[in-house]
Amino acid sequence: MMTLTSKKKRLLLTAILTVLLTVLLAPVYSDNNMFASILESTHQNKIARIDIFNAGNRDNKIEILPPPPHLNVQYPEWCRYPNGQCSMLEAKISRDWRTYTLQFKVIHDGLITIGLRGPYKASGQARFPVIVDYKDMRINDQPLLSSIQKNWHDAPYNYSFSARDGDVITLSFQTRKHHFRFSDFLTFYHLNGHLLFCVVIISFFIFYKVVQYISRFKIIERNSRIDIIFLCFFFLLLFMPMMRINDDDWLAAENRKAHPYVPLFTNHQFNQAYGTQVENWFNDHFFGRTQLVRLNAFIQKLNRVISNKAAVFDTQTNWLFNDSQINQHVFPNYNPALLASIEKFHAFLSQNGISFYLFIVPSKTDLYADFVPGYKNIPKIQNEAQIRFLEKNASFPVIFPIEALRQAARKDYVYFKTEHHWTEWGAFIGYQTLMERIRKDFPGVHEVKETDYVTFYDKRVRGDWERHFTLGQTFQMMNLPYDPQKLLDTEYKYYTPIHEITPTVTDIPYYKIKSFRNPDPNASAIKVFLAGTSMNENLLQFLPYSFRQLTYYRLNNVQNVSYQDGFKIASKYKNDILKMDPDIFILSINSENIPELLNLMRD
């Protein structure tokens, strides 16, 4: 171990540290991530990249005949343009020249462009050159390149020529790993010699002093060498995050804008929130942030189950469950009171000639209890006793599509993994069960079919009022340190109506309403008043298409209305119901909302 007691050793350490700092400070005196680029170009890179593009119409492309060995041919999706499709070839390279010959067929007349370049390489969001050498390129045996070309991804050698549909082109070229020349410093890295000189000299003097300062602890004060190393390492760690501030303004992994730097004086005024704003800015930009977050995520992943106040997360399967759905409600027996409350509401509707349906959407855990990590006491069905009591004793139809959903869950996901809502496929199954019951009373009602929709699969989540694709609300509640894109590991089935109805949306204090008017003359002339919670958002992909008019009143998450007050339907929406004069009233709630039905007739 170095004792730092001799001048030679101190000088050696100073020199090593100077070189290290000079390498770190390369962006000061050069462009294009110089050292990484040199390392990649001369040693680590193993492929040359050749792009061939047939420009003309949408269907223009080329076809490689038959792919030669050591060549990887791809037709990537990002390389599809309105005027044609390009092909990407990757050729293995080494320190020595290798010759490649290939043939390709032109599909449709067009302008062929052959681009000889290096592979794509980026550090953060900035690309840097990985240089590949090319020579002796020939097209149909006609020589085109005599001198050595040094190309990289953003600076390729391009050659274009016209070709006709069906032409077979023979392309040959030689390629190798880049052989580094001194002139490359100027050509690729715009090396500023003056700045480099300053960096080396200043670094040397700084480190000379620092090493001298540190060595004093051992030589004069006779301190522990272990502690000297410990302290140096600690202070290095302290300085690292500020050494390189990331200037990206978009944090891709977090799907959000990074906090910008706000100066101390803005518009000639003292910025009172400067400290907080600098904290926000630094938190988003310091060097090593991604690595630290990843480290924490790795440690968290050692934990099978992560839970917080809002939800629980299985780190192995990526299932997330809301707190409200995983815990057993142990209410006293209130079934008669519950039934009386709903019957009273039913009586009010009957008096006004409105048919009433109670539609109870199961909880996610009613379907996926086995995926709740570490839990032993999950109810098989939330509020099952109440549901069964209502099914048995109510004078109105109670629809609880648990069996249909269980059947459907064998084929595809009926609930999202990172959110508590059902998927559109799940909602479609629920819709079919509901319609089966309504059609008993209203046989003429049209029931939509899957053929009325364009279906597609997507890993993202769409289940609530705004109809945006999201990462999932449960994921958001937990604020997990994971890349959300990686967490979305499942594709869900979505439905887009071929003839989509755009609702009129009202989202103001005390009211959250969506109104649908079906322009289809074949739709049954029935008016529906739908009231309920968030599961209806996906149900509305289907339900409005069966009726002439449907108005949906959201009961929870309404501005200025508490959760309990939201269910006081009679007092709150009586006039709206009478004004609309619907034929059908559907109360569509989640199984965990059942206790709130005691509030239906309360003021």
């Binding site: 390492f233 904290e279 995983i326 409600h329 142990v330 990462l471 959300p484």
Partner: protein, 465 residues
């Protein structure tokens, strides 16, 4: 600014430390003062004015006390009243108005006063200075910058320990910074940071899950888990902050007195208060209990004095009846122990019972301390003892304590006992042990900062198109 923020650890601290350590000795106080004022003004510069006013009042007050021959007491009273007046205005005003309205059926409007961070700590520090000057223990500081440094010194500004002037006045003028102090300071800082981030925050999440629910939603066992989790959270949070403060003090050459000494191994509440928040209890002892007569007048007067001290201790902790009751709860048992003297008895079984009794009493106390109001505290306590039989929700154990939290629980319980103290002492003589401890401290530091960095990770739910 918080010690446990990225900005403090990776921006403020390295710059201040390096500039301070490389600066000439004559500039070090000025540098520390500037750093302290910047540290305090970081979150909102408005509060800085209150602290500067506090410095000015105490500087002037002490000078008058020092110079005056016949009116020393008047100037002291005036300064203390102004200090307490400012503290009461910012900390207790809303509480007092609320209670006056409740008691006398008035409708006085509540003042929307935001409490400046650390006001309880720096007010008490300032008062210790003027009282010391009044007692003649120290001379009044003629250099306002040095007094400002004492009151605003950033390592102990926000959460203590409450440094008494007579403990540090010599260090302000004359202190040495050497390698050993810096190394110890850094190690102590890392230990404090790990206590706060890895243990207190993890256990705090457990306590939050339980205390944020209505008491009907969890059973007795869970209520006890919540109380223990909170007791451990509070200890590691507070002692972690004190460790960081003491560590930073060492880096800058100061030696602050210890604030915690394994309080949870106490065998009586009297002993507990000798080990818990030592700087506060000694402050009250020196500046309130002894001036009231301490235990020198009569037994009854001693009990009254203790009652007053613990009433004040409770009030100091916060403007809420919970804290008042909590203070009196502790005072009550200290008086009982003084009357019975049973805590002085010894023997293996008695010792075991004494430990059990102490843990029981402080756990009950912490429930009052944590609860948002006394009604909740009372219901929580009833739940702990099985007096709430109807529970509306049955949670699974793993909801409250996941595996990492369980690990933190175990580590927290072990580290609340002096099991590893000898290891640190031994490490000075054993190279391998020292290397291992140093490496472990670096690992703890990286783990703590990884957790802090993750708290800044905040994915946006909607996909941008």
């Amino acid at each position: 600014m918080l010690f446990s923020s990225m900005t403090f650890i990776f921006l403020f601290m390295p710059i201040v430390c390096v500039v301070y350590l490389l600066a000439k000795k004559s500039l070090q106080n000025m540098l520390l003062l500037i750093a302290s004022l910047l540290f305090y003004a970081w979150g909102g510069p408005n509060y800085l004015a209150i602290m500067l006013l506090n410095i000015l009042i105490n500087y002037t007050g002490a000078l008058y006390i020092d110079r005056s021959v016949s009116h020393k007491k008047t100037f002291l009273t005036l300064t203390v009243v102004v200090n307490l007046g400012i503290l009461i205005y910012f900390k207790y005003c809303s509480f007092l108005i609320d209670n006056i309205n409740g008691l006398l059926s008035y409708d006085l409007p509540l003042l929307e006063v935001i409490m400046p961070i650390g006001i309880s700590f720096y007010t008490f520090q300032a008062m210790s200075y003027v009282i010391d000057v009044y007692r003649g223990e120290v001379k009044a500081q003629r250099n306002i910058y040095k007094l400002a440094l004492y009151i605003s010194l950033f390592p102990q500004l926000v959460a203590g320990p409450i440094v008494k002037y007579h403990d540090v006045n010599h260090q302000i003028d004359n202190r040495t910074v050497n390698f050993r102090k810096v190394t110890y300071g850094v190690k102590r800082f890392i230990i404090g940071l790990s206590k706060k981030i890895l243990l207190a925050n993890t256990l705090g999440a457990v306590a939050d899950k339980i205390f944020s629910q209505p008491v009907e939603q969890f059973d007795s066992a869970t209520a006890w888990i919540g109380a223990v989790a909170y007791a451990l959270q509070l200890f590691y949070d507070f002692s972690g902050y004190s460790d960081m403060a003491i560590g930073l003090g060492y880096i800058f050459g100061f030696k602050f007195l210890e604030n915690f000494n394994y309080p949870y191994i106490s065998r009586s509440i009297t002993e507990f208060w000798r080990r818990w928040h030592i700087s506060l209890s000694t402050w009250f002892k020196e500046y309130l209990y002894i001036p009231l007569g301490g235990n020198r007048i009569s037994p009854v007067r001693t009990y009254v004095n203790l009652f007053i001290v613990f009433l004040a201790t409770g009030i100091w902790h916060g403007a809420s009846w919970n804290f008042v009751v909590w203070g009196l709860w502790n005072g009550l048992f200290i008086i009982m122990e003084r009357i019975t003297n049973w805590h002085k008895k010894d023997g293996p079984i008695i010792r075991f019972i004494q430990h059990g009794y102490t843990i029981f009493i402080f756990l009950i106390g912490w429930v009052m301390f944590r609860a948002t109001n006394m009604t909740y505290a009372w219901d929580y306590l009833k739940n702990m003892f099985g007096f709430i039989s109807k529970h509306t929700l049955s949670h699974d154990f793993i909801y409250y304590v996941d595996h990492i939290e369980l690990l933190a629980f175990g580590v927290a319980v072990l580290c609340s006992m002096p099991l590893f103290t000898k290891m640190l002492t031994l490490s000075d003589k054993h190279v391998i042990l020292k290397s291992l401890i140093n490496a472990w401290l670096i690992v703890l530091f990286i783990l703590s900062t990884a957790l802090i960095a993750s708290s800044t990770y905040n994915p946006f739910i909607y996909f941008r198109f």
